[in-house]
């Protein structure tokens, strides 16, 4: 099998396998067989380095309708049923008869990259030509390359494991080598994985060490003296790097976001070279954390305005030190790394760089009491880290635990429903909820997750039988199903009718025992805003 077909087979295998091991095998097979240049692209795609979008969805849809001779309403009907544009188009276009497709994955990707410079007519001719070269499965993949979002359940971690098996290297080494800034167009597979790039790339971050939620009692972790506690901050996890007189800020999503936070520029001249700090990008004033909602006003904007800098200033709350004087010290114990970190932050002495302070406690019980005060401290709980632990790669159990406080909750009634996407494209699974305001209902949040498949099917049946109105894909539902909505934070919002915006809302449980008269009120929400929304 050649390039594009091989890749389509991989995507299919990844999309249908339900077990991690099968996905891993599929990737290993792929890396064993594909050309080096295609491999580099797969690493890029699966680590979120998709090329810039060359063609809009609107154009793709229009060309497909033209080719398949379909009216717009029928196309849209199909799209609503499938839930994914790339797949809808692949299903609607006539199936081709052909032998082997001569083209590689990189051929299509690089053509697509060039295409962004081209006229609409040139784009159209390339897309139509490609559709005629590709079978249905490949068409889907090709469309996905344009529309983005391979939601096929491959974590970066699985890919790293597969690569590690392919080239016989440690996963931590691979994770480091494929991180950071590199261009699949100009990087060779051997160069990337051989580490040549890592030694020359000043911006290269380390893979983050991530924690699991604590499921047991803290007492079961053993002696409290062996553990370090910190607040769990609700900002953007990041790495601050200075090498060769250049400063870089990476987010956990492997995005280089240096330009978004001009506050950190001040650190360029005072931080020593050869340094990598792990921490949280936090809105904060005078060393005190501010609500995450403030940071949200800055994310997603191209340019930061002076007003935003004044209203939502950020600091870097440092957790850990990974590199000092150009040496990787991730194998040092946490307490040693922390000592070095404290010394550096102290010598820098600048409000843009703070240490995330260590919480003193004498026993686990003390800590429980402190944890209950997380919200007052602007935190969402505690982090527990074993003092002797090394800095590991990815999400691991054992040495780091997050111990979050219980979420805030409110009882609300379902009022609108919309069909989900992907896995749930035929079910009504996206809901809007309302609270009472006098004898009216006011919508205040959407939620999509938290129910079992069985519950979703039950709600779906209810929605279908109790629709009051239909606006496009949205159905207005008779207000009668009550759910307990959990969320992590609440902030004032002028954009929402209710005046509040929730952070991470989800359905905690279906309250079969409650009817619509017993739900919470807008008053209740506003009270929560007053207490927790500052």
């Amino acid at each position: 099998m050649n390039g594009m077909s091989l890749f389509a087979t991989l995507v299919h295998a990844l999309g249908t396998s339900t077990k991690t091991n099968d996905k891993l095998d599929a990737l290993v097979d792929y890396f064993g067989e594909a050309s080096p240049h295609d491999k580099i692209w797969v690493i890029a795609l699966f680590s979120g380095r998709r090329p810039k979008r060359a063609v809009t969805s609107t154009l793709l849809a229009a060309w497909c309708r033209e080719k398949a001779n379909l009216s717009q309403w029928l196309f849209e009907e199909c799209y609503h049923t499938v839930g994914d544009l790339a797949e809808t188009i692949a299903l609607l276009l006539p199936e081709i008869k052909r032998g082997i497709n001569p083209h590689s994955l990189s051929y299509y990707l690089e053509k697509l990259i060039d295409l962004s410079q081209n006229s609409e007519a040139e784009k159209k001719s390339f897309i139509l030509e490609s559709w005629e070269q590709l079978n249905r499965q490949e068409k889907f993949v090709f469309n996905k390359l344009i529309t983005g979002g391979f939601r096929i359940g491959v974590s970066q971690q699985i890919m790293v494991q597969a690569l590690a098996r392919t080239v016989s290297l440690e996963t931590s080494l691979i994770a480091h080598r494929i991180s950071g800034k590199w261009d699949p167009m100009t990087t060779a597979f051997e160069e990337l994985l051989g580490g040549e790039l890592a030694s020359t790339d000043d911006s290269k971050p380390y893979p983050f060490f991530l924690s699991y939620a604590l499921e047991q009692l803290p007492e079961e972790l053993g002696l409290h003296e062996e553990w370090q506690a910190e607040w769990k901050w609700d900002g953007i996890r990041g790495q601050l790097i200075k090498r060769n007189d250049k400063l870089f800020v990476w987010s956990r999503g492997e995005e280089l976001i240096t330009d978004k936070f001009p506050e950190y520029n001040a650190l360029l001249n005072i931080l020593p070279n050869g340094i990598v700090i792990d921490g949280e990008i936090m809105p904060s004033r005078d060393g005190q954390p501010l609500p995450f909602a403030l940071l949200q006003t800055r994310i997603g904007r191209k340019n930061v305005t002076r007003k935003q800098l004044l209203e939502a200033p950020v600091s870097f709350f440092a957790y850990d030190l990974l590199e000092i004087e150009g040496h990787d010290i991730r194998s040092f114990s946490l307490s040693d790394r922390r000592k070095n970190l404290d010394a550096i932050v102290k010598s820098v002495n600048h409000p843009a760089l703070l240490v995330s302070r260590i919480i003193d406690f004498n026993n686990w019980n003390d800590l429980k009491i402190l944890r209950d005060r997380s919200r007052e401290n602007g935190a969402e709980g505690l982090m527990l880290k074993r003092m002797s632990s090394t800095y590991q790669v990815g999400r691991k159990r054992g040495d780091w635990w997050k111990w979050k406080i219980d979420p805030l909750t409110i009882d609300a009634v379902l009022v609108y429903a919309q069909k989900g996407h992907g896995r749930r494209s035929n079910l009504y699974t996206d809901y809007t909820f309302a609270v009472k305001d006098g004898d009216k209902l006011v919508t205040f949040t959407k939620a999509y997750s938290g129910l079992t498949d069985k519950e979703f099917a039950q709600v779906d049946a209810f929605v279908k039988n109790n629709s009051l109105e239909k606006f496009g894909p949205v159905r207005t539902v008779k207000p009668s199903l009550v759910f307990e909505i959990a969320f992590e934070g609440i902030a004032a919002s002028a954009r929402h009718k209710s005046g509040v915006a929730l952070r991470f809302p989800r359905m905690l449980r279906w309250r079969h025992d409650k009817n619509v008269d017993e739900i919470n009120t807008l008053e209740d929400l506003k009270r929560m805003l007053e207490i927790y929304g500052k």
């Binding site: 999309g15 249908t16 396998s17 339900t18 398949a68 379909l70 009216s71 309403w73 029928l74 009907e77 199909c78 049923t81 499938v82 839930g83 994914d84 797949e87 809808t88 299903l91 609607l92 199936e95 889907f140 996407h421 992907g422 896995r423 749930r424 494209s425 035929n426 079910l427 498949d453 069985k454 979703f456 099917a457």
Partner: protein, 338 residues
């Protein structure tokens, strides 16, 4: 002249004083096929195709059944009624009604590809055609069944090599027989009780079908290693499945055309095998009847009728209580009582 009207109890022919596939108990019911959403319990008299009769008896118990052949013309009160192959499952029939030169046909469920068991669908010229529309969107286009059977065989072989059992979910009446036929070469095909019941009944009726082994509490777990198991969709996720571990699940259904459905079912593989017509099948069948008026029942009735209207055919959507069989296949499942 309306030869069929749509009533609370189902499709009704008032000139003939009978219902077709009623969903409430009636005096006289003509039954297109033995699926539970089309053949319901409680009517006083049932008329159906010869092949359907034993299947109805199995499902509904003893009762008053009359069986006729395809093309056999029966006078019922003022009308002439006959049954014609629909190609959906064994015995499945379209219902043709004629009165003073006016002809109406109800398709029941149908598919246009000949599966070798259900008979070849015949388009019956008529003035008014009442069609199903289960897969009435252009995203549903089937591959030839042989292609799908090959996929299934390959998948089963791969599973055996990997040390897994292959659990194939297929509706017990219709698809299960097709899948079993396709896998005939293999020894030891096991089946869920619901499927064995249909299979054994059909074999007793003289159908040349491979026999399958019934899974009971006594079936040795070791015998099930790397085996092929045919089960109804409702068995999915039940504790009954545990005994096959390690196993992989393949769902055989037209709904598997959409990736999201494969994942939602948490299936390891989806095989796009259907006993219903695909989009092209619906269009060609409807066109071949030459009908000037079309009523569209269960499925994507609004889309398909709108499409027909755009093509200059007078089409209307009709709400019926059919479609449960198809729903079961595509959706989350309930626990089965065979």
């Amino acid at each position: 002249m309306n030869l069929i009207t749509f009533t609370e109890a189902g499709l009704f022919c008032s000139l003939g004083q009978f219902y077709i596939d009623p969903w409430k108990p009636v005096d006289r019911a003509v039954i297109t096929h033995a699926h539970s959403d089309h053949a319901r319990y409680g009517s006083k008299h049932y008329l159906c195709h010869t092949y359907t009769k034993p299947l109805l008896q199995l499902r509904l118990g003893e009762g008053n059944y009359q069986a006729i052949e395809w093309g056999e013309r029966i006078n019922i009160n003022d009308v002439v009624m006959s049954l014609h192959p629909a190609g959906h499952i064994i015995g499945s029939s379209q219902v043709r009604i004629e009165y003073k030169g006016e002809v109406w046909v109800f398709s029941g469920d149908y598919k246009t590809e000949n599966d070798g068991l259900s008979g070849q669908f015949e388009a019956i010229p008529c003035h008014t055609f009442i069609t199903e529309s289960t897969f009435g969107l252009p995203i549903y286009k089937w591959e030839k069944q042989e292609t799908i059977y090959d996929e299934i065989r390959k998948w089963v072989t791969q599973n055996m090599e990997d040390g897994f059992s292959s659990v194939l979910l297929a509706y017990s009446l219709g698809k299960a027989q097709r899948v079993i036929n396709a896998l005939e070469q293999n020894q030891n095909i096991y089946a869920h009780g619901a499927i064995c019941n249909s299979q054994e009944l059909l074999i007793n009726q003289g159908w040349e079908l491979p026999s399958v082994q019934r899974i009971t509490v006594d079936t040795e777990k070791s015998a099930l290693k790397k085996s092929i198991v045919i089960a109804p969709p409702s068995a999915d996720g039940s504790s009954w499945m545990k005994r096959f571990s390690p196993f992989r699940v393949g769902v055989c259904s037209g709904w598997m055309q959409v990736r999201g459905n494969v994942r939602r079912r948490n299936a390891d593989a989806g095989f796009v095998l259907s006993d219903h017509a695909d989009w092209d099948g619906l269009i060609s069948a409807t066109a071949a009847t030459g009908a000037e008026k079309v009523y569209v029942t269960h499925g994507f009735q609004s889309a398909f009728s709108r499409y027909l209207n755009e093509k200059g055919i007078d089409a209307y959507e009709v709400k019926t209580a059919y479609g449960q069989e198809e729903e079961d296949e595509g959706k989350e499942t309930k626990i089965d009582t065979p």
